[in-house]
């Protein structure tokens, strides 16, 4: 039986949900559906869309008297709805990653890996894919894809290879890498925060799956792309490709070696701080967002001569997207919409359980943004910390797996696959929607099947 204890909580009104007339719930639900559909079509810039939708939700909620107007000092209810911890993580992690990337460390590692491949197509596919997976665990997926995708295009040009198999595989592997740590992707941050999962626990649970998924994905890529990624056998071809990759100099991508070295130390310290936070005095009393902000401040200190520029790189559009999104979800909670979705979800997944929940999340993520989905799921499962704690951990991870891997099914399913297709288009190698689905669906199906088995094992262990 699918366990969704929070549905009762949402229905009881203890999470802030008062008795709402059905027509109001339906109007809010319609607003949510329209917002999600418009998000999927990408006709309107997503931050603007979400902010408009949030304002409409707020005005309607206020008109119908959802918000109590009491005297005294208190935060406005729409401010309380915003998950500031998530926003803190996004701002802190963005600043940290932007400055670290400016040190050239990621481009340096990329060129090193290219050279280690010796220019052999299959080794190159494996090395760049593994690198994409690792990078997307520490960078945001778009940045990881831009760095590796750019190198792929240049390398393939030098090696006379078709970049399509490499770019598509990399786009898909970013979403696998997004599973690795608590801060690798936004859905992880949202779910991790709601379910109170530590950085280390998250890594221990998703790490083994990520390794298995990389191996399986490489075998699929070898089978799908055939001769395009075939290992070289002729000595002359091997020598030619080796010379071509040897001509790359990783140090050319680093402008300031001192900053490069200090950044490496900074990155190691920050990763340790994330991983060991529960054991570090004082730090353990704070949330993970404080570690993210500390990491940002640390990197700003290392790069103190360009702080204004560094802070300009914060993804303010994403921050405002979250502000709007959390307000929408807060209103939906009070409007009874989340209760309806929870009930619907409960019915849909009654027979399929945790695995069904993952597939539902994956299918939903394949056609629209996985962030609103994760935010909604987090609110449905954990309207309060107590309710969240009562939910089976495997169910939380089902949402994480589904939200991350679902993006691999279609070219619009995730930002990194969109970037991969953009790079291909830029170089005159178009991949049609269906063409991508034929490839992406094979990868996604294998990864989701693997995740299904993994979740069943997790259910027993967690």
């Amino acid at each position: 039986m699918f366990n969704l204890p929070c549905t009762a909580l949402l229905a009881s009104g203890d999470s802030g949900t008062a008795a709402v007339p059905p027509h109001q719930t339906w109007i809010f639900a319609a607003l949510l559906v329209v917002t999600l559909l418009l998000l999927a079509t990408e006709k309107i810039q997503k931050t603007v869309l979400v902010l408009i939708s949030a304002l409409v939700c707020l005005f309607l909620a206020d008109y119908w008297g959802f918000f109590p107007h009491t005297a005294g000092h208190h935060l406005p209810v729409y401010i309380e709805m915003i998950e500031w911890e998530v926003i803190g993580i996004v701002i802190g992690a963005t600043v940290f990653v932007e400055i670290a990337a400016r040190s050239g460390i990621f481009t340096w590692i990329s060129v090193k890996m290219l050279k280690a491949s010796r220019g052999d197509p299959f080794r190159l596919l494996i090395f760049l894919s593994v690198l994409t997976t690792v990078f997307s665990a520490f960078l945001d997926n778009i940045t990881a894809m831009i760095i590796i995708g750019s190198l792929t295009v240049v390398a393939c040009r030098k090696l006379d290879l078709n970049p399509m198999p490499f770019l598509v595989t990399e786009g898909i592997m970013t979403n696998v890498g997004g599973l690795l740590t608590l801060i690798s992707s936004i859905p992880n941050i949202i779910v991790g925060k709601a379910a109170d999962i530590s950085y280390l626990t998250f890594l221990v649970v998703t790490g083994p799956y990520t390794i298995i998924a990389i191996v399986v994905s490489m075998l699929i890529a070898r089978w799908l792309f055939g001769s395009a990624v075939q290992p070289l056998t002729e000595q002359a071809a091997k020598a030619h490709n080796l010379a071509a990759v040897t001509a790359f100099d990783e140090w050319e991508t680093v402008k300031d070696r001192k900053f490069f070295r200090t950044s490496i130390v900074g990155i190691i310290l920050v990763i340790l701080a994330f991983a060991l936070k529960p054991q570090i005095p004082i730090l353990r009393d704070f949330g993970i967002e404080v570690v993210a902000m500390l990491a940002a401040v640390f990197m700003l200190l290392l790069h103190a001569d360009d702080v204004e520029h560094d802070l300009d790189d914060v993804e303010w559009s994403l921050v405002f997207f979250f502000v709007g999104l959390f307000i929408i979800i807060g209103v939906m909670e009070r409007g009874g919409v989340l209760l309806q979705i929870g009930t619907l979800l409960s019915g849909l997944t009654d027979k399929t359980g945790t695995v069904g929940l993952m597939w539902f999340t994956a299918l939903f993520s394949s056609v629209t943004d996985n962030i609103p989905l994760a935010a909604m799921m987090a609110k449905i499962f954990g309207p309060t910390p107590e309710a969240a704690a009562a939910v089976d951990r495997a169910q939380w991870f089902a949402v994480v797996f589904g939200a991350n891997l679902g993006g691999n099914i279609t070219p619009i399913g995730s930002a990194s696959t969109v970037v991969a297709c953009t790079i291909l288009k830029k170089h005159g190698l178009k991949v049609s929607f269906l063409g991508f689905v034929k490839i992406g669906a094979v990868f996604a199906a294998a990864q989701l099947l693997l995740a299904s088995g993994y979740l069943l094992i997790l259910q027993r262990l967690l």
């Binding site: 481009t107 750019s150 240049v154 040897t246 790359f248 050319e252 991508t253 790189d313």
Partner: protein, 290 residues
């Protein structure tokens, strides 16, 4: 990061990649060693023997009429070298014999007499098809000659095939420095040949020379790395000024085993005025005249 577009990263990686110069190894299948019955003969034969071991060269030993045939034959056979039956009477005869043999390198002991020295060397270098290694003082360890090489370079960096002898002869674990002396007017051509990026092209003075040296070194190191047969440290420095004084200054401080000068095109040596001067004034170490 958003503003650092795909174009920007592609440009970063394009600049990190350089075309590998096609500097083929010189075929040293046939080497000519010249002996003239003077104290440098032993050094010539030791060097020839060393090249035979390293490259599997077939070494033909030519003797002047002044050299004792029995001594030469014995010394050659001791090192498994092949002595020519007939001695040569003049430099012109030697040039003819070397050309018939189609040698790829000539090892030549410098005459003690200064007048003869100039005439012999000039005739040999200008007449012989292969480059000539002029040995001017006894050589203790032949490997040391090729252990640290100074190669003087002028012009625009486009005659890269001239580096082939230095690249071929440099010992594993050794050092090769290409010292490029240019005039201010030639700087732009060299900058283009080195394919420096547009931001570096805006630099001036010492900063520009440093950047160009960095780029030149990348080209040359890539050649060594791509060959994967031997590894030696290759350096490149570019300076503006008088080539003779710059080279002499470097030789004073550098403890080099061999000096390389001139250029070799279409089977002939081409020595500019400064190359010619250097070929004669560099005294303490063997000089390879290309």
């Amino acid at each position: 990061m958003r503003e650092r577009s795909l174009d920007e990263f592609e440009s970063i990686f394009e600049q990190a990649s350089i075309p590998v110069l096609n500097i083929a190894n010189v075929d040293l299948a046939r080497v000519s060693a010249v002996v003239k019955g003077d104290p440098l003969d032993e050094s010539i034969l030791d060097l020839a023997s060393h090249l035979k071991t390293r490259f599997g060269s077939e070494v033909r030993v030519y003797r002047s009429t002044g050299a004792d045939a029995d001594t030469v034959f014995a010394a050659a056979r001791k090192r498994s070298l092949s002595p020519a039956e007939e001695p040569f009477n003049s430099t012109a005869e030697l040039v003819g014999q070397v050309s018939i043999e189609r040698s790829q390198l000539v090892l030549f002991p410098e005459p003690a007499d200064e007048a003869a020295r100039t005439i012999d060397i000039d005739h040999l270098v200008q007449g012989a098809a292969p480059p000539v290694l002029l040995v001017r003082s006894p050589v203790d360890k032949p490997a040391d000659v090729f252990g640290k090489i100074l190669h003087s370079l002028t012009g625009n960096f486009q005659q890269t095939q001239n580096f082939a002898h230095s690249f071929t002869l440099a010992e594993s674990g050794g050092v090769l420095l290409l010292l490029h002396t240019v005039t201010s007017d030639e700087l732009a051509d060299v900058r283009d040949a080195l394919q420096v990026s547009p931001d570096i092209a805006d630099e001036e003075g010492d900063e520009l020379l440093e950047s160009m040296a960095h780029h030149g070194e990348r080209f040359l190191k890539a050649v060594v790395a791509a060959s994967r047969r031997r590894s030696f440290d290759v350096g490149y420095r570019i300076l503006i000024g008088d080539v003779v004084s710059i080279v002499q200054q470097e030789l004073e401080i550098g403890d080099y085993g061999m000096f390389v000068v001139g250029s070799h095109r279409e089977g002939h040596s081409y020595l500019g005025a400064s190359d010619y001067q250097l070929m004669h004034v560099v005294r303490g170490i063997p000089v390879l005249a290309l």
